[in-house]
């Protein structure tokens, strides 16, 4: 029987879709945190962040199912969950397994945040950087479309946009608060030098 490429095509398409959704969710998540656009309602941005992550997980389920059903590479059901069980590029497929498992964990932590506490929920979200890194390595090194210019461009754009947004998130928010504090304390100093009581 002639080899049926349907599931192989689906596996590649769903893998790339999951990666794009993950990237968009990370970008929107960074926007929630650093608030660059005053016109955006925070609640709507937060909802979008969760919806994109959910769509990413949906694509991930499709990616896993298509890989099991496909006969181009041989992926067993345990191979989806245990790193190292896939004979095709075992190291790079393991990055995908770990990224997927962490992604499920971070997503699920949202509904568990009352039990684990908001602080731990926020700590767990740092794993997102590892997820994005592992997913990028997995996509580039295990994906068979990487050599195509459009796919390579997609990876470059994803990494560059997340790097810029993350840098901005770490640099921008404190400066606003610090600037206001500095202005307020110099105002208080000026008031004191005029012999007034600070408010």
């Amino acid at each position: 029987m002639r080899h049926d490429p349907t599931f192989w095509l689906l596996a590649r398409a769903s893998g790339l879709t999951a990666y794009v959704m993950l990237t968009l969710s990370v970008l929107v998540g960074l926007v929630v945190k650093s608030r660059p656009f005053a016109a955006l309602k925070p609640a709507a941005v937060t909802d979008l962040h969760r919806i994109l992550a959910m769509l990413g997980l949906g694509a991930l389920v499709g990616h896993a199912a298509a890989l099991v059903l496909d006969s181009t590479v041989h992926v067993s059901i345990p191979g989806l969950f245990v790193p190292g069980l896939v004979s095709y590029r075992p190291v790079w497929t393991s990055f995908g397994v770990l990224a997927a498992e962490l992604m499920v964990l971070v997503y699920a932590s949202f509904s568990m945040r009352k039990r684990i506490g908001p602080k731990n929920w926020r700590r767990l979200h740092w794993a997102t950087y590892a997820i994005f890194g592992a997913a990028t390595v997995h996509g580039i090194a295990a994906g068979t479309d990487t050599t195509r210019p459009w796919a390579f461009a997609l990876y470059v754009a994803a990494v560059a946009s997340v790097a810029v947004a993350a840098t901005w998130r770490f640099l921008v928010p404190p400066t606003r608060a610090v600037a206001r504090r500095t202005a307020a304390s110099s105002g208080a100093r000026a008031a004191r030098s005029r012999g007034e009581q600070p408010a």
Partner: protein, 71 residues
């Protein structure tokens, strides 16, 4: 009279707890895991950061004197 008056929209709050981290003396999470106020007003302008840090935009800070939204 304090400088700032604070309001929490509890229908928006989903218990991220970022406000509690910013100003623990003003905000707390109650038994439902939602943000609640320990005081109604404060002079601490860190409440503006707390409002800014809320992922749901559930916190509004007003200038107590004018009643206008503080930013």
């Amino acid at each position: 009279m304090t400088t700032y008056r604070i309001e929490i929209d509890r229908s928006l709050c989903s218990g991220f707890g970022s406000c509690v981290e910013e100003v623990p003396g003003v905000f707390a999470l109650d038994g439902d895991g939602l943000a609640t106020l320990l005081v109604t007003g404060t002079d601490d302008e860190a409440v503006l950061d707390a409002a800014g840090s809320c992922p749901m935009g559930a916190i509004t800070v007003f200038e107590a004197e004018t009643g206008e939204e503080a930013s």
